[in-house]
């Protein structure tokens, strides 16, 4: 196949604050601002960031659970944002989602078997035998015994529930799974089980993942490439090894330094980054990280830094660490023009 499996171009989502038929200039939450990336078949792209950075909104935009304010989401070259209901339903088969909370993401009134076969039954009729065979097969794929299909979610442990969530996502044999904080609610020992399961599934079926997480340890473990988001924008996107070997954006650096390390002999030298994430309703001018950034210069307050490609295959949006030269700044100028067109 030519081109990437998933291509996201200048994706933007503004949530209006309150409804106003009569009011103009309603304040908006700038949840996602001009986000572009692509995912190759069989690859894992991680999106990391803290709460309010827009990573979960990106997941919901990809699934079209919310409508984008601007930008395009292309699967195999087709823009799903333009699709009508039935065509969209067909495209959903290519892309499935695993949710964060293993409790509220399963209907408490349905049995495990009903939950995981439902996506298939949305598209075709299944006989009783077919349904049971499918349920048994899916359960085995996620490491559960087929007898579990008659259990209710409340009779299962957190890890088993998350396995069900994964089985449901696998039911339509998607080529891409979006996992939104899929292991964050789990205990460490169970988390390892689920991460291993995801790795195995990727190896066996060649599924691509968009793995959204706040946990850098998990991201480093599972990702091929990593996008770091801050206040609705990608500030750094890099191959996993390169990013963890040497973060370039000061925010990526701060995030890594802040993560607690299970080594009591390590002496923490650096002071944690100051301040808190500003509100996405009224984000700081220029680079959104400048009020907390130790490197900030005058330019950071004025100008939004473009994503600049560096030699090792990463892109970074920072005036200080990756100053834009005239030649390479092109992608973002294009991005800006298309954004203004949409708005």
């Amino acid at each position: 196949m030519n081109g990437p499996l998933l291509k996201v171009e200048n994706l933007t989502k503004h949530y209006p604050l309150g409804s106003g038929i009569f009011k103009k200039n309603i304040p908006v939450i700038r949840a996602v601002e001009d986000v572009s990336f692509s995912v190759e078949a069989g690859e894992t792209l991680c999106i990391v960031g803290e709460s309010g950075c827009g990573k979960s909104t990106v997941a919901r935009l990809l699934m079209r659970l919310v409508e984008p304010t601007g930008g395009r989401v292309l699967i195999d070259g087709t823009d799903i944002a333009g699709l009508k209901k039935d065509a969209l339903r067909a495209w959903r088969r290519r892309m499935q989602m695993v949710f964060q909370d293993p409790y509220s993401s399963l209907n408490p009134r349905l049995t495990a078997g009903q939950i995981i076969t439902e996506p298939v039954e949305n598209f075709e009729r299944l006989s009783r035998q077919q349904r049971n065979a499918l349920a048994a097969d899916l359960l085995q794929k996620v490491g559960m015994s087929p007898e579990m299909m008659h259990r209710l979610p409340s009779e299962l442990s957190g890890g088993q529930r998350q396995r069900l969530g994964i089985a449901r996502a696998l039911a339509l044999k998607p080529s891409l799974i979006i996992a939104d904080e899929a292991v964050s609610a789990l205990d460490v020992s169970v988390q390892a089980q689920i991460l291993n399961l995801l790795l195995d599934l990727q190896q066996q079926m060649g599924i691509a993942f968009v793995f959204i997480s706040h946990d850098l340890g998990v991201v480093e473990h599972i990702g091929h490439r990593v996008a770091v988001m801050y206040l609705g924008r990608i500030v750094e996107l890099a191959p996993c090894e390169a990013l963890f070997a040497k973060p370039v954006h000061p925010y990526t650096e701060a995030l890594m330094a802040a993560a607690p390390v299970p080594d009591p002999t390590r002496v923490r030298l650096e002071a944690p980054v100051e301040g808190e994430v500003p509100s996405p309703i009224n984000p700081p001018s220029g680079c959104a990280f400048h009020p907390r950034c130790p490197l900030a210069v005058e330019r950071c307050r004025i100008e939004v830094p473009p994503l600049v490609p560096l030699a090792d295959g990463r892109v970074v949006a920072c005036h200080v660490r990756a100053p834009a030269t005239d030649v390479v700044a092109k992608p973002t100028t294009a991005a800006n023009s298309s954004l203004s067109r949409v708005v």
């Binding site: 919901r60 699934m63 339903r89 509220s104 209907n107 439902e118 949305n122």
Partner: protein, 262 residues
């Protein structure tokens, strides 16, 4: 569940009325305002009609009006509530209409409707049901709103489920429990409203025995034949109590936490 059992007993008694109770409408001018006797257990009223038979037949009216109003309000409320919970534009309009309905006293609204169309049991039920719609609709709507944001509903949508299936399989089941409880409350309220309207003379036509018009007719003879007013009065109180107990029982059944708290 005492309420349920008692209500079932009342329903059986009312259904079987023609088998054991006498004719509720036959008048006998020579037996006016008689005390209880073996022939007429509760005595007779001012037109010499059998108060026992009238009370039993009156129960039929109360039950029919109560149950049909409850069913009507439940179905109507479910329909409007689910759509309002799902369609924003409709929500704004429907909820303002419901607010409007709620601001008019139940009895006045019913009297207005009946005076527009004339009396009759059918119109009476409609007139009693409409004022009950807002409470049911609001309840259904809030249940839908709280469920539709649950991740499992989003999961169903991303799994490719069509809207009707999402509604039927994932959203409706969680509205059923509160709906049943609310319906019981509506039922009790409807029984009282019917009695009130009949008492005022705008309810069921006077020739049909109903507790409301029995009480109304007999109020002048309270000192001579107290049973003519107490029999329907006590029955009314007992039936409303039974329905309310049923509602409480249903709530405890669906929400065991409420039971433990008490």
């Amino acid at each position: 569940m005492i309420g349920g059992g008692f209500l079932a007993l009342l329903i059986v008694l009312a259904l079987a009325a023609p088998l054991y109770a006498g004719d509720p409408s036959s008048m006998d001018p020579f037996k006016r305002l008689q005390p209880p006797s073996a022939e007429m257990w509760f005595g007779s009223d001012n037109l010499g009609r059998d108060v026992f038979a009238r009370t039993i037949f009156g129960a039929r009216i109360s039950l029919v009006v109560g149950l049909l109003s409850a069913v009507g309000a439940a179905l109507g409320g479910l329909l409007i509530g689910v759509i309002a919970g799902y369609v924003r534009a409709f929500d704004n309009i429907a909820m303002r209409v419901m607010d409007g309905l709620m601001s008019i006293p139940t009895i006045l609204l019913a009297i207005a409707l009946i005076s527009l169309t004339g009396s009759g049991i059918g119109i009476l039920i409609v007139a009693i049901t409409i004022p009950q719609l807002p409470s049911v609709t609001r309840m259904v709507r809030s249940a839908v709103l709280s469920v539709r944001e649950r991740p499992y509903v989003e999961a169903a949508v991303s799994g490719g489920a069509r809207l009707p299936k999402v509604l039927w399989r994932h959203i409706l089941p969680s509205t059923i429990a509160p709906l049943m409880v609310q319906s019981a409350i509506v039922c009790a309220d409807a029984i009282l409203t019917e009695a009130g309207l009949s008492f005022l003379g705008v309810g069921v036509p006077p020739e049909i025995p109903s507790w409301g018009n029995m009480i109304s007719n007999s109020r002048l003879y309270l000192s001579i034949a107290p049973l003519t007013i107490f029999a329907p009065g006590i029955c009314l109180a007992v039936m409303v109590l039974a329905v309310n107990l049923l509602g409480d029982g249903l709530r405890d059944l669906f929400d065991p936490r409420a039971k433990r708290r008490r």
